[in-house]
Amino acid sequence: MDHITRRSFLKRAACLGGGVLLSQSPLSGLAQNRLQAPPAPEMGPDLVAVKGKDPYVNTLRAIQELGGIEAFMRRGDRVGILVNSPFKNIGASVNPDVALAVIEKCLEGGAKEIRYLKDPHRGYWERSLKSGELATVLKALKYETGDHVKVEIPGGLSLKDARVTKDLWDCDVFINISIAKHHGGVLYSGALKNMMGLCAFTTNSYFHLGTLKLGWYADLDHLAQCIADLNLIRKPDLCISDATAFITENGPYGPGKLASAETVVTSTNRVSLDAFCCRFLGLQPEEVLMIGKAARHGLGEMKHDRIRIKSLSV
């Protein structure tokens, strides 16, 4: 995939979109709403699933098969990575080897800065046997500043604005790294849900309690719609889903029964990615409300037979 061509396309798509506005004028010019590219045969697979014993190797291969990291970033870019890694229980956070592989590729690709958009739990990197040999990679990381800005979402149906980490708007490239796992409220936590990691607690509270029904998960339709709406703020340039080992109950925090699909999946589209990966938990995309709602926003394809899938084992 030619990244310059792709970038040009995305810029044109952003001009057509207009789904999000930053309310603070100094940042307004940075707002990017990169709409979903329509599938074209010459663009290769929409989604790559790599199965193997080593999550690190799976990740490298899955990125390569989608066009290589150079398809998603240029030398000198600032890269923001949103990794679902705040939970210490095994299978509740992305395997650190998956995140390390992405970070290493971004550095190889000439990233000027890599910003970790949501801090990991304490001891996260030490869970990886590779964290020692990749110490220099980890040293290059910058963590969240903690500053949030209000973002208007005119296209949102339930969510009209959100307080989102300012760091997101400082990045040239945005990579969403999620784990395919159980979620007690919306059944499945993947790339779409991972976007809540960018938000301030007050915004996430509104997702859960905004219709004033009592209970964190009392209004799942509202929660799912807010998640779909939030995904209008910015399209990730690359999405990665860790389906190597994940909880199938007691999500999102765990601990709970573990399943292992030994698979890492990459895609440029988070709707297709979630629609594909929720099946690892025995769910159909139609059962996961936010997937359908995000598809209805035009954010991506959820029908299995319309997604070009490349599966391989290593």
């Binding site: 229980n89 001891g123 007050t202 509104y206």
Partner: protein
């Protein structure tokens, strides 16, 4: 978006800790219930334990807090222990508003699954984690593997915590 005062009202009424009238009781520090390193032969605290009270549990464990607050959550302490080989065990201790609350949340967390083990008033060991309850407390310990040594330490730590608890407030 709805006014934040309404959202706050919703949050307040959702949380039993705010809405339930109850006589304040003397609270011992939850930190005192954690096992001492001197009893743990090579296991040490990995960083300072984290604590949460009321609504702040959501900041610590996100959506995982839902069931606890619904059943009547008071406060929690979370610690991680690490041994010389770099292995880790997580210990999450939740103080509920009543023993009945602890019983309900334990049933949700442990269910009928796992191997029954003798810790506190009720306990179940799963592949890599253990749940037990005693009095107003629900405790979860989890490791990162299913090795026998790890499971033995889960059990040993659980028993040390249970010993440090008074049966009920």
């Amino acid at each position: 978006m709805i006014p934040s005062i309404l959202l706050f009202g919703s949050i307040v009424s959702f949380f039993p800790i705010f809405s339930q009238a109850e006589e304040p009781r003397a609270k011992e520090s939850l930190l005192s219930l954690l096992p001492l390193e001197s009893d743990l032969k090579g296991w040490k605290l990995d960083g300072e334990p984290q604590t949460a009270e009321g609504i702040r549990l959501f900041e610590l464990i996100n959506g995982g807090a839902e069931e606890y607050v619904k059943e009547g959550f008071s406060r929690a302490v979370m610690a991680t222990y690490r041994n010389n080989e770099g292995k880790r065990i997580n210990l999450d201790l939740y103080e509920m508003l009543s023993p009945e609350s602890a019983k309900r949340i334990h049933r949700k967390k442990a269910g009928d699954k796992g191997q029954k083990v003798s810790v506190g008033e009720e306990a179940a060991m799963e592949d890599y984690y253990l749940n037990f309850r005693k009095g107003v407390y629900q405790v979860t310990l989890s490791g990162y593997d299913t090795q026998r040594e790890t499971l033995e330490w889960l059990l040993r730590m659980a028993r040390l915590v249970a010993e440090r608890m008074s049966a009920s407030p």
